[in-house]
């Protein structure tokens, strides 16, 4: 937030000293608590502290508290096909300021060489490597100026793209109207927790009839740092508008916080289209699965208006545990929901992911293409719900779930739930499970491809239907990412 605030003041012509003074002032004004980091533990005071730190309106504080109180009445969900030790929510710190420059690595020489090798293979430019690895860089102004250019272009077309914290200050009514309307805090255990303690996230508003002039990427949003743990994203597409949003990064991201519980809400009004693409590559832990990120995410979109369209595309390769079901509620007549997913689990990773398509409107259509890849000792599950309600005359769904196994100690599971309460609906489900066979591998090697190149080629072929849905540059990176992720999975 502070950088953005600074940037605004830059426009007003204020000096660096002014900014410094204001920052001191802000810190003193926001709260009477001196510390920037809370000790581990969660209670109502912690929730109030977070809200106060962010200078939130009172309704927001109250909403967080209601969410917290509701969370206390809930039980940790047990239905997913994942296993992990019980999470001690009181051992987590729910607010910490970004790491200071002194605490960071001084240069890339101090960064884990393995991480650097991966960056190199992905062809990431040096200054971006520094950013990803959290190196203390002087050239912050570079990224600020890039972001500024980016923002002014968006502002011309009336698009709002900022952090949730900023939106709460600048567009509180929009946030109040939509936040929690798609994913209420009562929805599930992790959504309730997120609602109580969310740190920050992105806010996007596309006005009526506007086609967003560029793909919005979290990468370009400054302040993205340290919002990862309990991130909250809200995207609103007004009538006839169009937006493509990219989340995440192909480069492996490290984070000291093991538990991640994000919430994403999308609203598409009449004739609007939202395309949401994710590449998730959080640290999966070591070969025994120690230290990896637990990623419990609630993502849901509402096709509110007629002929609205929401499309989720995800490539999931990271995290020790992935628990994630991007969903679409198809309320508007003739609205369209899509889910394209590649989930790769290797080592000791566990992924339980899929989608929910809730058909309410007439002639609503949904497509689900899920590709699960398991290697070494990983467990990969697809879990999907297709619900056709009595009002959804002429609704159609097509589901295709394919699993690919590499090696013989990994597992693939499919849990499809189909509830059709309308006789005019059509629901199709296709599922396959296959193995990267010795014969395929041998054919590739006989033609001169080394085993790793061969496996990555076979896996990329398997994922083709999903990669096609990704924005071009993302698709190329995703292919490379799979290749790197599969290194050492063969043999």
């Amino acid at each position: 937030m502070s950088e953005t605030a600074n940037q605004k003041r830059d426009v007003d012509g204020d000096t660096a000293i002014d900014r410094h003074l204001e920052r001191e002032y802000e810190a003193g004004w926001v709260t009477d608590i001196e510390s920037d980091t809370l000790p581990p533990g969660l209670d109502e005071d912690v929730v109030r502290f977070i809200s106060a730190k962010k200078n939130e309106p009172e309704w927001m504080t109250e909403w967080r508290l209601e969410a917290y109180r509701h969370w206390l009445t809930m039980d940790h969900p047990k239905w997913a096909h994942v296993h992990y030790p019980k999470i001690d929510f009181n051992s987590i710190s729910y607010f910490s300021a970004p790491r200071s420059q002194e605490d960071r690595p001084k240069s890339l020489d101090e960064v884990d060489p393995e991480l650097l090798r991966t960056y190199e293979k992905l062809g990431i430019p040096l200054h971006e490597q520094e950013m990803l690895a959290g190196v203390a860089v002087d050239a912050v102004f570079d990224s600020v100026s890039v972001a500024t250019t980016f923002r002014s272009k968006l502002a011309e077309s009336g698009v709002i793209f900022c952090s949730i914290s900023e939106a709460l200050q600048d567009y509180p009514e929009l946030v109040r109207k939509y936040m929690g309307s798609i994913v209420p805090y009562r929805d599930n255990y992790f959504a309730a927790l997120n609602s109580a303690v969310f740190s920050d996230g992105s806010f996007v508003y596309i006005p009526e009839g506007v086609r967003c002039p560029m793909e919005l990427s979290t990468y370009f949003r400054i302040n993205a740092e340290n919002t990862g743990q309990f991130e909250r994203t809200l995207i609103i597409a007004e009538e006839g508008s169009h937006v493509s949003y990219l989340e995440g990064c192909t480069a492996p991201q490290r984070d000291e916080n093991q538990l991640h519980a994000a919430v994403v809400e999308l609203v598409a009004h009449k004739n609007a289209k939202i395309k949401y693409s994710t590449v998730q590559n959080w640290y999966p832990g070591d070969s025994e699965g120690r230290g990896g990120i637990y990623n419990f995410v609630t993502k849901r979109g509402l096709c509110a208006g007629e002929r609205s369209h929401i499309s989720w595309t995800q490539v999931e390769t990271g995290s020790a545990i992935t628990w994630k079901y991007p969903s679409v509620i198809l309320r508007g007549d003739d609205s369209v929901g899509e889910f394209y997913s590649v989930a790769l689990a290797r080592g000791r990773q566990q992924a339980d992911t899929g989608t929910k398509m809730i058909h309410l409107g007439k002639n609503t259509r949904s497509t689900i293409i899920s590709k699960g890849i398991s290697a070494v000792r990983a467990e990969n599950s697809y879990r999907g719900l297709v619900r056709i309600s009595p009002s959804a005359d002429g609704a159609r769904n097509f589901t295709q779930c394919d699993s690919l196994l590499i090696g013989d100690r990994c597992g693939a599971h499919t849990f499809p739930y189909i509830e059709s309460r309308n006789p005019t609906a059509t629901v199709e489900h296709e599922a396959t499970t296959s193995k990267v066979s010795d014969d395929q591998l041998f054919l590739c090697r006989q033609r001169g491809l080394d085993p790793e190149k061969a496996v990555s080629m076979i896996v990329n072929g398997f994922c083709k239907d999903v990669f096609r849905e990704l924005p071009m540059e993302f698709a190329v990176e995703a292919g490379k990412l799979l290749e790197i992720s599969l290194e050492g999975a063969v043999g």
Partner: protein, 249 residues
């Protein structure tokens, strides 16, 4: 080019090749014939480095190098090519990207630059025509949904593009109609050159009407029991294998 001496090979403890000797010089075409279970396909597998075959005795020298010490891809880089008896499918990987990756892998080993997309496309299309495959096959997944004959033509396509030094064709003629057989034979004949050696593993003499071999060998019980010129194949066609295997037993 290739010198196989006293080769013994077992699969899961069972002896399949039992003292096989074979020497092939550059420029030669050798046909290997023999009854079912005589070890013909095992020979192809061992030459190309398939897993699960254990060389217990003897040696395979290829340009003076111990071939058995090399990984399958290392053999491919050195010009060893196997046309598969049963080509597998690789769904979603287009023939085009597969072919180009193979060609570039071999070029990289020779220290040559990768092919340009446009040049390779032209070459691949022309080669498709040569083997009688519609160029649409380049866009399809490797062998995905191909008929038996199309798969064999696709093997030939790969062979022509990779320009091997030692090509081993494992029953490439089986299951082909007369027209397809002619196409395969023409393809193999265009590859014939002074620098190349070709091993044809086949059950049928008819292939050898189209590709005239320099030598014909009869494999039985894991070793070569008779070698001769092209006329040996005709003799086998007439008499079958019985007179040879009984004599050898």
């Amino acid at each position: 080019m290739l010198k196989i001496s006293n080769l013994h090979v077992t699969i899961a403890g069972e002896t399949i090749l039992n003292g096989l000797d074979l020497e092939i010089a550059a420029g030669e075409v050798h046909a290997i014939m023999g009854p079912n279970g005589s070890g013909k396909s095992t020979l192809a597998a061992v030459l190309s480095g398939r897993e699960g075959y254990e060389v217990t005795e003897g040696s395979i020298e290829y340009f003076g190098e111990d071939l058995t010490a090399l990984e399958p891809e290392e053999r491919a880089w050195r010009g060893v090519f196997l046309a598969f008896q049963y080509p597998v499918e690789i769904p979603g990987v287009t023939n085009m990207e597969f072919l180009r990756a193979s060609v570039d892998a071999l070029r990289a080993h020779r220290g040559e630059a990768a092919t340009s997309a446009v040049d390779f496309m032209k070459l691949a299309r022309a080669t498709c025509k040569q083997v009688g495959l519609d160029t649409d096959f380049l866009k399809r997944g490797v062998n995905e949904g191909f008929s038996g004959g199309e798969k064999k033509r696709n093997e030939l396509l790969q062979m022509l593009l990779l320009e091997p030094k030692l090509a081993v064709l494992d029953e490439t003629d089986s299951g082909l109609d007369i027209d397809a057989l002619g196409v395969v034979a023409d393809g193999v004949n265009t590859l014939r050159s002074a620098e190349r050696a070709i091993i044809l593993i086949t059950h049928y003499q008819r292939l050898l009407n189209h590709i005239v071999p320099d030598r014909v060998h009869v494999l039985s019980g894991g070793r070569i029991i008779r070698s001769g010129g092209k006329e040996l194949a005709l003799e086998l066609e007439e008499k079958g294998y019985g007179w040879l295997t009984e004599a050898a037993a």
